[in-house]
């Protein structure tokens, strides 16, 4: 399709200014630009059609199944949008007096309390704007804790090799050195390797549980104990909280600090810019270091902002992505105490149902058919037999109107397809997905060569990612 610049026609436009009703002012010539900016010139109707055409080439959860592992692409109920659009939440300014925004403060305060209850934490900040931002914030708390104890030697963060890539990246951003520990044959943390890795230089451990293979680590209590006995703290990456919310709490597993992804677990928009939100919770002993300002309630129920004395400082302007928090609060209140655990139970049931049927269809599941909310298929054996890779299977799924599962992650499975159906998909959708995956498997065995050319129905099939990364074109190049 044409770019905006290619649709531009000199002199065309849609801007109709109202009559000037203030005195005209002559600007200093030095302040005026000499050349007109080279913006596309076009009618509003053409602009509208351009973006509608772009939108028709995207795929969201409202278009179809989106089993993108580790991303929890669940359906976002419309009621979230209705509540977030209420004038009391939208017609406000972050600097207006708190007496006039008590409802907004209450929404934040209640959400913090509910997230604390779900995670088994004592305090929460809504400031971080996404998951990795939450990781970074949590690590700042851990660093502040050690420094406050005069413990300057704790410079290392332990991360399992199955972790999300953001974990080591956040640790380095926060000034730590990363120590990677291998997984055991069951996909969990290798306890002996962990024991060998901890020491007086251990600042903490970052762990996702269930992990990126969709497996709940049965040694979780022991893992936290090993780290604590070495003087380190335990950080829970809440990326996979959708598997356990309402059933098991990171705080009870022994974690000191946690982030949750509102855009994953709590049904707020995800992808396309979200925006995201990654609240960070902690046990009481870390609360003094939380970013401020924090919402505080006095004895009369009056809400105000206060700055924690030893705060690590702001990690984002004002109070985070407030309207995202309103959506998450709506979601939690809609589901209630019974609905929250039911949602995660159904997410786990859906994943196990799919895992079982896909194994039966002939796909290889290296860590067994039992899983939590997601599971990993290894296309290695398929590739060895037919030449068809995880990439080929994923590309072919696009022809069926399905967003492919996460590919080539976790890194410990080389031809990985990571499938997370979430709880908001009906059995019929899951059955259709199995039919399509079965059909692709048959194609792989009868005409594998053809699959290297998939997809066949999309406007763009296989973009050249390597050249795009090596020689990126970052702006439009005008003809002259």
């Amino acid at each position: 399709m044409k770019l905006l610049f290619e649709r531009s026609v000199a002199g065309r436009g849609q801007t109709v200014f109202p009559q000037l009703d203030v005195p005209e002012v002559a600007f200093d010539q030095a302040l005026l630009r000499r050349d007109m900016p080279r913006l596309p010139q076009m009618a509003e109707v053409d602009l509208g059609r351009h973006y509608t055409e772009l939108a028709s080439q995207t795929h969201g959860v409202n278009d179809g199944f989106y089993p993108l592992g580790s991303c929890t692409m669940k359906y976002n109920p419309r009621v979230n949008e209705q509540v977030a659009a209420l004038p009391g939440f939208t017609d406000i300014h972050p600097l207006q007096p708190v007496e006039t925004a008590q409802g907004c403060l209450r929404a934040m305060h209640e959400l913090e309390a509910m997230l604390c209850e779900i995670c088994g934490m004592d305090a929460m900040t809504l400031q971080p704007a996404a998951g990795a931002h939450g990781e970074y914030t949590g690590l700042l708390l851990i660093r502040a804790h050690h420094l406050a104890n005069g413990d300057t030697a704790r410079t290392k963060i332990i991360v399992p090799d199955s972790a999300h890539g953001t974990n080591p990246a956040s640790a380095v951003m926060a000034g730590f050195t990363v120590v990677s520990v291998p997984s055991n044959a069951q996909g969990g943390v290798d306890l002996d390797a962990l024991r060998a890795a901890v020491g007086p230089d251990t600042a903490g451990l970052m762990l996702t549980n269930p992990n990126t293979l969709g497996l709940f680590d049965p040694n979780i209590l022991q893992i936290c104990q090993i780290v604590h006995e070495a003087g380190g703290l335990c950080y829970y990456d809440g990326a996979n909280l959708n598997a356990v919310m309402g059933h098991a709490r990171p705080g009870d597993m022994g974690f000191d600090c946690v982030h949750v992804n509102l855009h994953k677990t709590f049904s707020t928009p995800h992808g396309g810019g979200g925006p995201g939100s990654g609240p960070v919770g902690c046990k009481a002993f870390l609360a003094p270091y939380l970013p401020g300002p924090r919402v505080a309630q006095d004895a009369d129920g009056h809400l105000s902002f206060e700055q924690p004395e030893q705060s690590v400082g702001k990690v984002r302007s004002f109070y985070g992505n407030f309207l995202v928090a309103v959506r998450a609060l709506t979601y939690i209140l809609t589901l209630g105490r019974e609905g929250i655990p039911e949602a995660s139970s159904t997410a786990v049931l859906n994943a196990n149902y799919l895992a079982h049927l896909l194994a039966e269809a002939g796909y290889d599941l290296p860590y067994g058919e039992r899983c939590m909310h997601e599971f990993v298929i290894d296309c290695g054996p398929l590739k060895a037999k037919t030449g068809v890779s995880a990439m080929d299977v994923a590309k072919r799924l696009l022809d069926f109107g399905i967003h492919p599962p996460t590919m080539y992650f976790p890194l410990i499975v080389h031809e990985a397809l990571m499938v997370e159906p979430t709880e908001t998909e009906a059995r019929e959708t899951l059955d259709e997905f199995v039919q399509m995956m079965t059909a692709i498997l048959e194609e792989a065995h009868t005409d594998g060569e053809r699959l290297h050319g998939a997809p066949f129905t999309c406007p763009i099939g296989r973009p050249d990612e390597v050249t795009a990364a090596r020689k990126p074109h970052l702006r439009y190049e005008f003809g002259e």
Partner: protein, 126 residues
Amino acid sequence: MSTIPAELRYTTSHEWVSEEDGTYTIGLTDYAQDALGDLVFVNLPQEGDEVTAGEAFADVESVKAVSDVFSPVTGVVVEVNEALLDAPESINEDPYGAWFVRVGEVSEVGELLDADAYAAHCEQEA
């Protein structure tokens, strides 16, 4: 089957090493570049940086992932192949020509494998 020149020494983390007059030249093996896929970005240390045997001194990025490159020796970086920064593809095209760094003042050399032992190691990992 990947190429494993007999005159070089290797680490289990897939770096190659050659030594001349106490200076060690380090790069990534053919097996490593093949497993990583098309490389699109390289991070290198600077001249004068200290490196430690068994610890990362550089990283490489493919369209799939970022991976550390580990130093086989402890010492000081005396020369950096900055041409790699603009041409990471040369690691894919000519892994044994596309050296990363030269390290001098070497105080410790980690465990190194000869070509046969490294070939056996790759066999085992495949």
